[in-house]
Every structure is written in C-alpha cells, then in structure tokens.
C-alpha cells in the first residue's frame, strides 16, 4: 500500500481522561488518563492493528472515534474534515461511514430482534428509499457475503453460535456501506478455528470492498496476520507505530519487545 494516499482518518493529540471523584462533595480529585496524547493516521484500504495490554486504552480510542464517549481534547479528521466539534446531528452522515464490530458476540445483538430486524434497522436509517422487499434482498445479500444463509434472516440471535453471531455483527456494520470499520477485539472470545474464519472473512471483505480497518487486539500473532500498520499502546500512550513487517522484525521500543517475547511460539 502506497503511503502517498490521503489518510481516511487522522487522530491528533487525542486525550480521553476519566475523572476520579472522591471526598465529601464528589469533587474530581484526579484523572485516569485512559488515552493520553495519541496521534495516528489510518490509510484508506489498509488495516491498522492496535495492540497493547489490558487497560492500555485500546477500546477507549475506538469508542472515541465513534463518539461513544466524550473526548477530553484532541482532533479527529475524517477525510480531512474535523469531526469532533460536530453536533450529533451534523455527525449523522459520518455514522454511515464509520462502523464498529464489537468484542462480545453474545451481547452485541439485541436478543429481542430477529436478524432481519437488526440489520434492517441500519438500512432503514441510512437507506430510507428501500422498500421492504428490497431491504430483504439486501439483507440476504449481506448475509451471503458474511457466509450465512438468507433463511437465517428470521431467526433470533440465541439460535446462532458465537462465530455466526460475530458474522451477523459484521453484516450489520456492512449494511450501511461504511468505509472504516473499527474492530474491537472481534475474535478474542472465539475459538481458534472460528477465529480463523472471521479473520479470513474480514480480509476477504477488505479485498472486495476496499474497507479500512482499525483492528484492536492483544494477540500479536493475529495482528501480524492481518495488519499493514501496527500501533503499540502502553497505558494510554502510543509507544511505537510502524509498518507491521518492520515492527515484528525489528521492535524498537522495549515494551514492544516485551510483548513480542511473551507470545508463545509454536
């Protein structure tokens, strides 16, 4: 992937602090610096791995990009446009472009809605022109794309295995035809064999649709399999950012080295 492309997403000096309250009047007595001055760029059509140990702020970055939590300071540009300062109404169009895949396949689908409803909802919002038939066709198409069958449409989430649910979650994200997918540990809860299927699926989709991924994981071996770039996070700070081959061959930061050492090798 050539580095001359415009970044699809650029994060500048992102800070997300959570207040620690204490004392009689619940005053803020300190801050958890979950994300502390992090800057990076995502290039279109590439996969960027985000690694770091538990609690290092990976999820927080993902959620900040999707405006699921307020950020303390910093800027986020989507295709050159600053999106942090937008009102939630102005942000609406970007909801169509940035989507997310969640870690926990068991809780990321509403147990009360059928698969059709779950995915259909996304279509209703962003493609209101579709009628019911067209919508069903589109859903069937999406399910096919993630390796499920059209007849699964009328089932409820509990009728699926973890891997299948994760596919549904991906289908839901794809329904709005996004450009950028934030995948927050999408396979950590899954078995190695299922994990392999999902990772392959993601790679196939990227090849087909030209998606950009921010792939959050703590499995370095897995990240190596999928990423072009790797960002290494340690307690909220970005300690190393480099192309994947580079980082695995020649880790510079001691923390990265330590992480790599800890990976059991076959």
């Amino acid at each position: 992937m050539s580095s001359s492309q415009v970044p699809i997403l650029e994060v500048q000096n992102l800070k997300v602090y959570f207040p620690i309250r204490s004392g009689l009047f619940r005053r803020t007595s300190g801050w958890i610096r979950a994300v502390d001055d992090v800057s990076f760029r995502l290039r279109k059509g590439t996969t960027t791995g985000l690694v770091g140990e538990s609690g290092s702020g990976k999820t927080t970055i993902g959620r900040a990009i999707l405006r699921l939590i307020p950020i303390t300071s910093g800027k986020i540009f989507y295709e050159g446009k600053e999106i942090v300062s937008l009102s939630s109404k102005e942000f609406r169009p970007y909801r169509k472009k940035i989507q997310m895949v969640f870690q926990d396949p068991y809780n990321s689908l509403n147990p009360r809605l059928t698969i059709e409803q779950t995915i259909g909802e996304a279509l209703e919002i962003h493609f209101p022109q579709l009628n019911r038939r067209q919508r069903r066709d589109r859903i069937a198409e999406l399910l096919n794309k993630v390796g499920l069958k059209a007849e699964h449409m009328d089932r409820y989430p509990h009728e699926f295995s973890g891997g299948q649910r994760q596919r549904i979650g991906i289908a839901r994200a794809l329904a709005v035809e996004p450009d950028l997918l934030v995948c927050d540990e999408p396979v950590s809860a899954l078995d190695v064999s299922v994990q392999a299927q999902i990772v392959n699926l993601l790679m196939d989709l990227q090849a087909e649709l030209g998606l950009t991924y921010l792939f959050i994981s703590h499995d370095l071996a897995l990240v190596e399999h999928i990423s072009d770039m790797v960002l290494v996070l340690q307690s909220g700070k970005l300690v190393e950012a480099a192309p994947a081959e580079e980082i695995y061959r020649n880790p510079r930061h001691p923390y990265t080295q330590k992480l790599l050492e800890a990976v059991p090798k076959l």
Binding site: D104, N107, P111, L113, V176
Partner: protein, 350 residues
C-alpha cells in the same frame, strides 16, 4: 424464544394450576351479575347473619333447606325439618346489563321469592355474601391489574428516561422518588386520601385509591428500571444501535423497552398481590372501598368484628380465603414466570 418460554412455563403443573385458577376467578368476576342471585346491596333485615343454606338432591332436582331464626338477639338459625324449596336454574331476578351492554334479568340460579338462597350465608344487614363476593371480586381483582399497570407504567417512564438520559432529569426523578419513599407510605396514603376524599363519591373512591396507590408506588419500580436501563445502556448492542445512528427515542423504544419487558412482566405479576393486600389493609383502616360497594378487603374488614368469630359466622371470612387464594396464585404464577424468564432476576420484597 418466546414460544419456548411459554412452553417451559406451562410445563410446570403448579403454574398451570395457578393460571387456570386465576382465569376462573376473573371469569367469575366478569360474569358476576349473571352468577349472583341478588344485587350486592340488596338487604333482608329479617335474615341477618343467615348461615349458608344446605343444598341436597331430592326427586330429580336440587332442593334448598330452609331455616328459622330461633334467637334473633344472637342470630341463631336452625333448619326447619322437612321444609325446603326447589333450586331453579336460569331464573329472572334483578336487572343488569350483561357484560355492561345487553339489558338482561336472567341469573344462573335462584329460588322463588320471598325465600332467599344464601350459598355463603348473609351479612349484618342480610345481604347475600356469595353475591357480594362475586361483585367484590371485580374490585379486588381489577385493582391489582389496573394499579400495577399504572405504577409500572409510571415507573417505567420515569425510571427509563432518568436512566437513559441521566443528568439533571435523573437527579430530579431520583430525589422525588426518595422523597416519596421517605414518608411512610401508609401515612402518605392517609394524608392524600384525607386531602382529596371529600370531593369524591364512594364509587369514585375506587379510582382515587388507585391513583393514590400508583402515585406512591411508582418510585420503587422507577428506581429498579433506572438501574436496569443504566446497565443495559452500556451493553454492546445498545452501543451498536448508537453507532448506527439511531435516535435516542428509537433506541429506547426498540432496544431498551423490549429487553425490559420480561422483567416488567414478572415484576408486575409479583406485585399484583401487593395491591390486593393493600386494598384490604386500607379497608381495614376504614379508608378503602366503601359501602355499599363490595370488595374483598372491605368484606374482610367487616368480618374483623369479634362477634363474627365468637358466634361462628365463619362464612363472613370467605373473602379472606378468596384473597389468600388469589394472592397465592399470583405469586406462584410470578415465580414460575421468573424462573422461566431468568431465575436470577432480582427479587422484590413486599
């Protein structure tokens, strides 16, 4: 998922029994005018505290034993040997509207006047306890349903919005509910009733009580719903809905509410007994449903007179049995539902 739930639920014989019993009771209440031989207010001052008539089979039909009042000062009745009248089916009696619409005067059973039949005896002014029990069921059985609907509705609204939107609304709602919880409920009830009762006739009292009960009652479901919403709000599927760009209302309506439903359902079932008992307690204190309307609580409250025990007017305690039965049924039903939905669901105490 839902049908499996129902199957799981109805596989329990206890739950099935309770459900069918309740169904039967509601059926009785619905058709009370047809099933009751007399109006609930119809008195027979010469036959106060009449014991239940014995009914026996003779010459191809049921016959009703007659009694004589041997000691009016102690309401002592003795059967008159050999005197009985036939029990008749589908007789004409007082007029009423069938299911509230069709004018009608047909009743399931009765005897030829002036003799009166008392399946469950008569009360202090000679009113038929059986008829009153049937009519009373309408109040007691509906007060639970309507009350729960109002309270849970209000609680859901306040708690749900407070939980989802948080901030100032949340604090406001929670402070209000704390305020309501801090005043002892019974006294709040007394005060509210005293403040408003004099504007209402005894028929409207039913609604007044309902409104007061739900005004007081919404706070604890509201707190529970708030908690549930707070935890649900962080669930990935709600986050996913936000990421998709759904509006907050839509998220509330389509994602939060359905997930609260099973809890809502179970907790409602389990809190219905509270209303039935609450009405009884209010009537006991003389501030519930009022004469001449009938409710089980009122009837039971009137049976607290020591002479009822001392003179063995046991039939006046039948409303107590009816209350106990209904409450047990609702509890069994609620427990079974909870087990079917989620056995770990948080329990409420009375």
């Amino acid at each position: 998922m839902r049908d499996r739930l129902l199957v799981r639920f109805f596989l329990r014989p206890r739950a099935l029994t309770a459900a069918s019993l309740l169904f039967f009771l509601y059926f009785l209440a619905l058709f009370a005018p047809f099933l009751a031989p007399y109006e609930p207010s119809s008195q027979a001052l010469g036959e106060t505290f009449h014991p239940p008539n014995r009914i026996f089979w003779a010459n191809g039909g049921f016959r009703v034993q007659l009694y004589r009042n041997v000691d009016p000062t102690a309401a002592e009745y003795r059967p008159i040997p050999g005197k009985s009248v036939p029990l008749k089916w589908l007789v004409h009696g007082f007029r009423y509207r069938f299911l509230g619409i069709l004018p009608c005067d047909l009743h399931l059973f009765g005897v030829d006047p002036p003799v009166r039949i008392y399946l469950l005896g008569s009360d202090s002014t000679g009113r038929d306890v059986f008829s009153r029990l049937l009519y009373g069921a309408r109040v007691s059985l509906s007060i639970g349903l309507v009350g729960v609907t109002l309270t849970t509705g209000l609680g859901l609204l306040v708690g749900g919005l407070a939980g989802y939107f948080g901030g100032i609304w949340d604090s406001l709602a929670m402070r209000t509910s704390e305020l309501l919880m801090a005043i002892p409920g019974l006294y709040l009830l007394l005060a509210l009733r005293a403040a408003f009762a004099s504007h209402f006739s005894s028929d409207q009292m039913y609604f007044l009580i309902l409104i007061i009960l739900s005004l007081i009652g919404w706070s604890s479901p509201a707190r529970i719903f708030r908690g549930l919403v707070l935890s649900l709000r962080e669930m990935p599927f709600i986050q996913a809905a936000r990421v998709l760009g759904l509006s907050p209302w839509r998220i509330l309506w389509r994602h939060l509410l359905p997930n609260l439903l099973s809890y809502l359902f179970v907790s409602s079932t389990l809190s219905i007994p509270g209303y039935i008992l609450g009405e009884a307690a209010l009537s006991f204190l003389g501030i519930g449903i009022q004469e001449p309307s009938a409710s089980w609580g009122l009837m039971l409250a009137q049976a607290q007179d020591i002479k009822v025990f001392a003179l063995n007017f046991w039939w006046l305690l039948t409303p107590g049995v009816a209350i106990a039965l209904t409450v047990i049924c609702f509890n069994v039903l609620g427990d079974a539902l909870r087990d079917a939905v989620d056995p770990r669901m948080e329990l409420q105490t009375r």
